[in-house]
């Protein structure tokens, strides 16, 4: 009985709020009646009406907002803020000045002394640039870091959702069915120059690149293992937008970001699923377009040790995708890897054919 009466109460409230939602704004009789009735709703009924309108708002946000509308909205606001500042400054400049004919030398000296003291206090009390200090700490943490495993994820720039195979263009699927992709790859790191990168083709074959710091190597399905001591051998083909910026030596990448980006420290925040830990959060925006690279990079690091937790490159053009994507490296493990993990022999069967190339 109570359930039935709840349901009929819900129906009544839904009818009311939906009539209101589905009527064009602008003086319809529905609005007036909705208002009159809404004033007589009890708090439970008002909560129901609010929930229905929240659904409407979520649907509208999902359907109508895109990167362009958001950009326009924020730009418009920032213009107003700048105009507001000018207005306030203008007002200050035009305010009448008091006559200062009788200001004595003692007052002037006193004012000068106060300014000097103020500047001294300001300079001694200002904290060091937290963003730069965090980046420096991260770079030195990499020098001394143990083994780390990162997952590589490609996400849609607009929705932030994980990319699916369907997002890959038909041309790419037709022309490069066996291209190993960055999405879903795993990157193993030791120090600054030992790495192993596992990538997968769309048919599930594995391609492994690696380096033990002395030689670089490449393992492809059903092909000879290639090994070379040439420093540039078998470099991972990075997205064009990131070619000048991203290397698998994250210390080098952070150094480049430090030089070319304006970095803000925005406090400590959790990273997605990992709500229990707060990480130092840095927001880097490109200083100018002289160097190639994404406009925005977001970085999360351990606030005490500087361990890189996540790095996210925005608006990156990746091979095979029509739209710009987010490329994310996410720390997933810190367990110690076997000693020989960064040598090629740990990743192919014993007896596989290996070609050592002196120059490649």
């Amino acid at each position: 009985m109570t359930t039935e009466s709840n349901e009929s109460e819900n129906r009544l409230v839904d009818q009311l709020s939906n009539q209101w939602l589905d009527t064009e704004p602008g003086g319809s009789e529905f609005h007036v009646s909705a208002m009159n009735v809404s004033e007589s709703l009890n708090s439970k009924q008002l909560q129901r009406a609010t929930d229905v309108q929240l659904i409407h708002a979520m649907l509208t946000s999902l359907a109508e907002d895109n990167e362009d509308t958001r950009q326009y909205r924020v730009n418009k606001l920032m213009q107003s803020i700048r105009a507001d500042r000018k207005r306030i400054h203008g007002k200050q400049l035009t305010s009448p000045k008091k006559p200062r004919r009788y200001v004595g030398p003692a007052i002037r000296l006193g004012t000068a002394a106060m300014i000097i003291i103020g500047i001294t206090i300001l300079l001694t009390s200002l904290p060091p640039n937290k963003a730069m200090a965090t980046i420096d700490q991260m770079i030195s943490a990499i020098e001394n870091a143990g083994d780390r495993t990162y997952s590589v994820v490609v996400r849609d720039q607009r929705t932030g959702r994980r990319e699916r195979a369907a997002a890959i263009s038909a041309v790419e699927r037709r022309n490069h069915p066996e291209r190993a992709v960055l999405d879903g790859a795993k990157l193993y790191l030791r120090g600054r120059d030992n790495y192993v990168l596992y990538r997968y083709t769309r048919s599930g074959q594995t391609v492994v690149n690696g380096s033990d710091g002395k030689s670089n190597w490449l393992i492809r399905p059903k092909r000879t293992v290639l090994v070379s001591s040439a420093p540039q051998a078998f470099r991972i083909p990075m997205p064009e937008d990131l070619a000048d910026l991203l290397t698998l030596d994250f210390g080098e990448t952070l150094q480049r970001i430090r030089e070319r980006y304006k970095i803000k420290y925005l406090g400590t925040v959790p990273v997605e699923q990992d709500q229990d830990t707060s990480w130092a959060y840095l927001h880097a925006t490109q200083r100018n377009r002289r160097f190639r690279g994404p406009r925005v990079i977001r970085i999360w690091a351990h606030p005490d040790t500087g361990l890189l937790r996540r790095i996210e490159f925005a608006d990156v053009r990746l091979q095979g995708y029509a739209e710009p994507k987010k490329l994310i490296f996410d720390l997933i493990d810190q367990k110690q890897l076997p000693n020989d993990w960064f040598t090629h022999s740990a990743h192919h069967p014993v007896g596989a054919k290996v070609d050592s190339l002196s120059e490649y």
């Binding site: 839904d14 929240l54 979520m58 909205r73 606001l77 927001h283």
Partner: protein
Amino acid sequence: MAFRSRHNEAQAIFEILVRENEAMLMTYLRAAVHNQSAVEDLFQETMLVAWRKINDYDRSCPFGPWIRGIAGKLIMAHFRKAKSDIMITGCETLEYLSRQIEHIHERSGDTWEQKIDALRHCIEALPDNYREMIEMRYFKRQSASKISEITKVSLEAVRKRLQRARAQLLDCLRRKKVVMEAGT
């Protein structure tokens, strides 16, 4: 010179906060205010007031509830001018709406869209005739009367289907714990 650079710095940080909270605030405003252009104006006004009062903001507290507090006051002021734009009003109801939004904001996900991603799944799970109505109303931006004209379904039936579709979406989001049960 130093003042100007600190000011620019503050402005840049504020812009980041705006970008990070824009979608959340728009959802809050859209849930309370019917008129789309009024929503856009209230968004601008809220953020501008927030910028002017930024020195009052306690940085140890989250930015979202603070900004919704400002928006709530502006919604109430707007209600006094244009009653037909707003159906829900009053401190208690706006506070309830703010709690619901905060509940969503606390979900995992970097962006607001990620946080409300479950809504897409709920739309996909709707019966065909309800999903069609939602798609036409929101994704094709048709009014109820236009949908009635296109689908040859009576206006009353279109409104009924939209009402039921929203109710099912609400139930679905409650089951997925995106939206809190009323009274919690």
